[in-house]
């Protein structure tokens, strides 16, 4: 009789899924540097869900997509929006190739700067990646919304997607570093990801800014039972987005629904994945937490 092994932790499942997404994106990049452009389904940019946002206004106003994008961008964007309607920014935490790379680079930074073994829920002795001080972190988090507005504005008069020459996905995965600007984007992306965990997601990603809106109403979310939570802060340590007081802010716009908090919590059934009316669940949790203070 076969012996059933211990199931893989949730974070392992996440990293496997992220690995598969990175591999698939690499395949798309490799396919686009091979001969046979006619069978690639469009340019490399056509495989980006954010391309759908970049080309949305030109399509509505002029009836055509920007160059290097096509209808596939809208299909992917609809897929991402579908996930967001159900689970908020889960795409960022589980399916984004750039998010996966940043998680990998943060792991490398920790290993290179003093962490020998990761102990879940315990503050790492590694010097990097760091958390920016709150006075810098908070205003910078709004930068991604400005980037989103700027790109939507620029797309009105653009021929190519406004992010075309500045996109880290192109810089990392397209294998066509044809301009010095793309090289500098690649270098900046790697260095910032080593220094600050998920720098791109926290401060610059326009797709993350768009999906953050869904965090407010998406019904599938981690919910903290305030009666069981002892505010030990283990979840704060593991949060890749650096959210302060995770236990009180699972509806936070910055939350990428990676469920590291759920896996880290040492008390069973304290953080649970819940499907239902999010406002009521979160408000009830917040009320009882403020009552217990």
């Amino acid at each position: 009789m076969a012996v059933k092994g211990k199931p893989a932790p949730l974070s392992t499942l996440r990293h496997r899924l992220q690995g598969a997404v990175v591999f698939a994106t690499l395949l798309i990049g490799i396919r686009h540097v091979l001969p046979g452009e006619g069978s690639t389904g469009g340019a490399f940019d056509a495989f980006c869900p954010f391309g759908g946002v970049e080309t949305l206004l030109p399509m509505i106003l002029r009836g055509e997509t920007l160059r290097s994008t096509n209808l596939l961008n809208f299909a992917l964007l609809i897929g991402v929006i579908g996930v967001s309607l159900l689970a908020g920014r889960a795409f960022c935490g589980w399916l984004c190739p750039l998010g996966a790379l940043q998680d990998g680079l943060a792991w490398v930074a920790r290993r290179l700067s003093g962490e020998k073994r990761h102990i879940r829920g315990k503050k790492s002795p590694a010097r990097f990646p760091v958390q920016l001080p709150a006075r810098l972190d908070r205003p910078l988090r709004y930068a991604k919304y400005l980037v989103l507005i700027g790109i939507a504005w620029a797309s009105l008069t653009a021929l190519y997607p406004p992010l075309h020459d500045l996109c880290p996905v192109r810089a990392v995965f397209s294998f066509r570093l044809v301009t010095p600007l793309l090289w500098s984007v690649l270098l900046t992306f790697v260095v910032t990801s080593l220094l600050v965990e998920r720098f791109w997601c926290k401060y610059l990603c326009p797709l993350g800014a768009l999906l953050a809106i869904a965090n407010k109403f998406a019904p599938l979310r981690p919910v903290v039972d305030p009666a069981r939570c002892n505010k030990c802060g283990r979840c704060d340590v593991e949060c890749p987005m650096g959210i302060v007081d995770v236990h009180a802010s699972t509806g936070n716009a910055e939350c990428i629904r990676c469920l590291e908090c759920l896996e880290t919590c040492a008390r069973q059934e304290t953080v649970t994945l819940t499907l239902g009316k999010p406002q009521q669940a979160v408000l009830a949790a917040a009320d009882s937490m403020s009552g217990s203070d």
Binding site: P7, L10, L13, R14, L17, E37, G38, S39, T40, G41, G42, A43, D45, A46, T55, M59, I60, G63, E64, T65, L66, R67, S68, T69, N70, L71, L72, F74, A75, L76, I78, G79, V80, I81, G82, V83, L86, A87, A90, F91, W94, L95, L220, L259, L262, E263, T272, L273, T274, L275, G276
Partner: protein
Amino acid sequence: MKINARLYPAIIVTTFVLFLLLALLLGFRPGHGGGGGHEVEHVAVELASALLSVWGRL
């Protein structure tokens, strides 16, 4: 309603694939060799006329 967290990856991947397939079935399909072109214009016109007809009924 509590959901088993181990089902979470399957739920989000399934949701993504379903919405992607729905979008492809609705006509958001890749063009060959680059973007732009008549098919885009065609779909845009169809979408616009569908929206206008719904508006008209309201």
